[in-house]
């Protein structure tokens, strides 16, 4: 069997609050079209949305790449932003460095990374100060995954 991999890439602009959510909406519609079950689609779109938000707010933009293979789905976000000094701290619920202006828009509750963690089977974050951050989230399709006919 050839392993067919579907790949989708998004460029996210920094500070572009108007279009935020496009990456997640597009990914969701793609996943629906290939017949990925909604339980997985839901988790994937949550992750995509949160990484997209973080690229917009914290990193000055970046790219989101989604890869679907027959056994898993991977979402990769890469930026060349300021980096995260203490990843464990950033992972904590409620921790946020978002400015007041951003909080006024309803973001910056410090829930994004933990929301991602809850919804991913694997979440890896690499960050180098001044160089950028990469976030890799994987969702496995298990035997229990109910496929649509």
């Amino acid at each position: 069997m050839t392993t067919n991999i579907y790949e989708e890439e998004f460029k996210v602009e920094g500070g572009d609050f108007m279009n935020v959510g496009t990456a997640s909406t597009t990914l969701k519609s793609s996943l629906e079209m290939v017949g990925i079950p909604s339980s997985i689609t839901r988790r994937a779109s949550i992750i995509a949305y949160e990484v997209e938000m973080n690229l917009v707010i914290h990193a000055g933009g970046g790219i989101i790449r989604s890869l679907v293979s027959t056994d898993k789905l991977m979402i990769l976000a890469i930026d060349e932003g300021p980096g995260i000094p203490d990843i464990d701290l950033a992972m904590q619920e409620g921790y946020s460095t978002a400015s007041d202006a951003i909080r006024e828009l309803g973001f910056g509750a410090g829930m994004g990374l933990s929301n991602m963690k809850r919804n991913a089977d694997v979440l890896k974050i690499n960050s180098e100060m001044g160089k950028g951050t990469s976030v890799e989230a994987i969702i496995y399709f298990t035997e229990n995954t109910e496929w649509r006919k």
Binding site: T2, N4, Y6, G21, M33, G35, I36, S38, S45, T70
Partner: protein, 436 residues
């Protein structure tokens, strides 16, 4: 599987206004006339609002036919009571309808709305926090929108039957009567409630006629009002369900704890709210009340009155939110019988995947994206599809061609004409080297 709207073909100009307003992309213009993909239509009425040619209408039953029958039994939508200054009163309307030989059984509706509010309050009391918020089932268009656009949220839809269904069921049980029932509706979605209900096999009602139709008839001076009786002591809590926030207030009146509810109306707000919920961003909220029409059901396309005036009447209504012991006893009996329960589970409406197995579906999705990348991405609607993406999908599914796009067509023509020009330069062998 809708049924609340119909297209008047002669009026359709084939413009793209409606297809672009449709939240589920259920409309296409094919051969100059709009057509609706029934499985995707949620009967929100947005296309009617956006059609400049009045080519889309509510597909209601014929009141003239219904009312020519010997006896007619009707139940009114709460919006009906705030349509006319002269008839803003349950008793007056009952009398007016009676003068036409129409039996108005809306008193049962007021009981049924109490039962629904009470049942939802009990569910919210018992649901564990991680399963909250629950979502209203009052607006049939919202249920369908969730089934189609937010399949992940169907489990959050509160499994409580429509108060209209409950009202008719109680009326039938109490009176032992079996007459056909006409529901007076403010929107196409409630027509579908009668013709194609979600969560039950068949509706308890048989016909649906717009509120507007009856209001016109009333105002045309048909009936005579003899009394100047004022409304006394009637339960009017249920009337508030026709404006944003009314349902939540009613449920809160029955709740044992202060509820955190969010109430929104209008399609855009509803979609935004559901999207936020889908993203897991609404933790700490108990209940979500949404209506696809602006300001709530009073904004439905089947009303006669300005939604602003209707709202003003509702705002100035004296409402008794305290449930009396008698009322409590009456509703509790029905609650215990489980009359509020849905017959069937509400399930998601699955979009057809591009292929039956993941591998070939992925290949076709790649092809779809390739086609999409060649389209102009301006979503002009000239191809009869709501967006370039929708055209790409139609092409992949064998329901469209690249040249449906006028920009692609233009490109193809210009390529062709260049080829023709080239060919025209081509001189036959017999003439080559000679002056023509």
């Amino acid at each position: 599987m809708a049924g609340g709207i119909k297209v008047q073909e002669i009026n359709c100009a084939g413009c793209a206004n409606c297809i672009k307003s449709c939240p589920t992309e259920a409309m296409r213009v094919i051969d100059g006339c709009v057509s609706v993909i029934n499985e995707l239509c949620i009967d929100c009425g947005e296309c009617m609002r956006n059609c400049p040619h009045k080519a889309i209408m509510m597909d209601e039953d014929e009141w003239d036919l219904i009312s020519s029958q010997e006896s007619v039994v009707a139940i009114c939508d709460p919006t009906f009571y705030v349509q006319m200054g002269a008839y803003a009163n349950q008793i007056l309307i009952k009398q007016a309808l009676a003068s036409w030989n129409v039996t108005d059984i809306s008193d049962y509706a007021s009981l049924a709305f109490d039962i629904v509010a009470y049942s939802i309050a009990r569910m919210l009391d018992h649901e564990s926090p991680q399963n909250l918020p629950l979502i209203t089932t009052y607006c049939p268009a919202v249920i369908r929108l969730i089934q189609i656009n937010f399949p992940e949220l169907v489990g959050r839809v509160v499994p409580v039957d429509s108060p209209f269904e409950i009202a008719v069921a109680i009326w039938r049980e109490v009176t032992g009567r079996n007459d056909d029932i006409t529901l007076l509706v403010p929107c196409p979605a409630k027509i579908t409630l009668v013709r194609n209900p979600v969560g039950r096999e068949d509706s308890n009602a048989q016909y649906a006629v717009s509120v507007r139709k009856l209001v016109r008839a009333l105002l045309a001076g048909g009936p005579k009002i003899s009394s100047e009786q004022l409304e006394v002591g009637l339960n009017n809590r249920w009337l508030q369900w026709s404006v944003t926030g009314g349902e939540s207030a009613h449920i809160s009146a029955f709740s044992q704890r202060p509820l955190k509810t969010i109430s929104v109306s209008g399609l855009r707000n509803t979609m935004d709210l559901l999207k936020e919920m889908e993203l897991g961003r609404l933790r700490g909220i108990d209940y979500i009340e949404c209506r696809v029409c602006d300001l709530g059901c009073i904004g439905g396309v089947g009303n006669a009155e300005s939604r602003f005036l209707s709202k003003s009447r509702l705002d100035h209504m004296d409402i008794n939110w305290n449930i009396s012991a008698d009322e409590m006893e009456a509703l509790h009996g029905w609650y215990e019988k489980g009359i509020y329960k849905l017959e069937k589970e509400i399930t998601a409406t699955r979009r057809n995947p591009l292929a039956t197995d993941l591998n070939s579906a992925m290949s076709r999705l790649k092809e779809l994206n390739r086609i999409y990348s060649e389209l102009p991405h301006i979503d002009c609607g000239s191809c009869g599809r709501p967006s370039c993406k929708a055209l790409a999908e139609d092409i992949i599914r064998g329901q469209g061609e690249m040249t449906d796009c006028i920009f692609k067509l233009r490109e193809t023509i210009s390529e062709l004409s260049r080829e023709i020009a080239d060919l025209a330069e081509h001189t036959p062998h017999t003439l080559r080297g000679k002056r023509v």
